[in-house]
């Protein structure tokens, strides 16, 4: 099985965000691999191992973290890794999908995996947009796969712990929510080795225009703790106040 995994860098969710006009202030922003793409990579690696296939990891963006992501993918077992484009940090999901499509269209992949969503996808979900523009079947919110002959058994999660199984004819696109196993760890030494191996390929792709028809006109940080009583002081003060709240609620 020939597998492609599509990965994106997203602003680190634990960082303090600042707004600059109608976008984040990206000057000092740290990026991390979209957590669902990490699961897509893991599911891809498991399938590669089961089927004796190959896996190519693709990632978008200029941030230093993107190369780190791809080196990590190689260290974990990807056969090759490709960095696409140069200035794609702030483009929309349609433009991201178009970039991925131009990179994978002629690759003959049986399976294309990406994360089910990313925190900045305001104009649609990349995995599904890729499927639609390649006219391939897809299933999203996938929490496990097992390979069959010319098809895959795929488990999709609905909600409240309810799941359903599907048989999907390949080639197909899957939006991965959670891999069967937690994403594997890899030693820093292996990542360094991957860095030095020169296996990472940079692919020059013309940056597509944002074409989604959706324009962000303003951004703001909702007032955190608006309406909440914020407890001041150290942990002793906090624990004392929480005990009072528990007593007032009649549960203590």
């Amino acid at each position: 099985m020939k597998i492609a995994v599509l990965m994106r860098a997203v602003p680190d969710p634990v960082e303090e965000l600042e707004i600059d006009g109608a976008d984040l202030d990206r000057d000092f922003l740290g990026y991390v691999l979209n957590e669902f793409d990490d699961h897509a990579l893991e599911e891809g690696l498991l399938l590669k191992e089961e089927t004796g296939g190959t896996l190519t990891a693709f990632a978008l963006g200029s941030a230093d973290e993107v190369e780190q992501m791809l080196h990590t993918a190689i260290a974990k077992g990807a056969d090759s890794a490709k960095k696409l484009g140069d200035d794609l940090d702030a483009v929309d999901a349609h433009a991201q999908a178009a970039t991925f499509v131009s990179a994978i269209r002629d690759g003959g992949y049986d399976l294309i995996l990406s994360g089910v969503q990313a925190s900045d996808e305001i104009d649609g979900q990349v995995a599904m947009l890729v499927a639609a523009s390649l006219d391939l079947p897809h299933v999203s919110v996938v929490v496990g796969t097992s390979p069959g002959e010319g098809s895959l058994r795929v488990t999709k999660e609905y909600w409240a712990g309810i799941t359903a199984d599907y048989d999907v004819a390949t080639p197909a696109v899957l939006g991965i929510q959670t891999a069967r196993e937690a994403p594997r760890y890899v030693a820093v030494a292996r990542i360094r080795q991957a860095q030095e191996s020169g296996a990472l390929e940079e692919v020059d792709i013309e940056q597509p225009e944002n074409s989604s028809g959706v324009t962000i006109t303003a951004m703001r940080l909702p007032e955190a703790g608006e309406g909440a009583e914020m407890i001041e002081g150290d942990e002793e003060a906090a624990a004392g106040r929480v005990l009072e709240i528990l007593q007032a609620a009649g549960v203590r």
Binding site: S119, G124, I162, D165, Y166
Partner: protein, 319 residues
Amino acid sequence: MSNDILVYVEHLNGEVTDATYELLATARALAAQTGGGVDAAAIGAGVSALTASLGGADRVLVAETDALGAFNPQGHAAAFSELVAAREPALVLVPYTSIGMEIGNQVAVANGLPLVSYCLSVDASSGLSATCQLYSGKVEADVTVDGDRAVFAMLAGSASADDGRSGGAGAAETVDVTIPDLAVSFVEIHEPEGGDVDITAGEVLVAIGRGIESEDNIEEAQELADALGAPLAASRPIIDQGWLPKTRQVGKSGLTVKPKVYLALGISGAPEHLEGMRDSATIIAVNSDPQAPIFGVAHYGWVGDIFDFIPELTDRLDG
């Protein structure tokens, strides 16, 4: 094109989901702005029976078909796309759920319409605009949409389900849809197994998130839960790591809880988590990030380290 609003009816096991009723409430307000009506499209086996609770719509388009199983990402989307192409509604509403997101993306692409995701609210009074939640709930964005038609994927809680449910039975109109050759086939559904602990029954819940950092630290949180006589619940990443069973998960793909007190420790408050706990009577949040969206729904908050807070509170409860 018409001025109508078309709502995708999400259903499972013969029941319309709350998310659909929320869409109907939103659609009613939007129809007043566009001067059109509210249509709801129900696709699948046995959907005629669903019209009994779909009076929130002016018309229910009923597409009976046995070919698709409970839900077929390809088949349901193709059928709905066909209805959107034929009716040309101004606005299409889908829920931002496991089912709705598949429908929304495909219908938008198939009909050449813009799609707006993560929507909190939509306005159609002059052009189309929406307010959306980005970056796991940390940012609110206002957007405008080119043209006069679009698909909107609405976050859970964007309207009152009760408002959308209040209309009695809907007027049914039978429609035919073509199901294409399917590359995706539905096999079977799995209901969750019951667990050791019922987190929906607890008066107090202690819930931990990725801030707990490692499996070894779960014990410390369990001690606090024990001191409170409360079950230990968690956000999704803790379950995905295998640190607690699936039956302890709160949120969109887990359980919805409404305890008297919900103590959220090291949980950021992503929309998918909030969906499962925002109606708790009292929410107390501890998080080291003052911007964490959990503080947006909390009644009480402390910005600090859970590893300072947990033993301190446990001691006081035991002492």
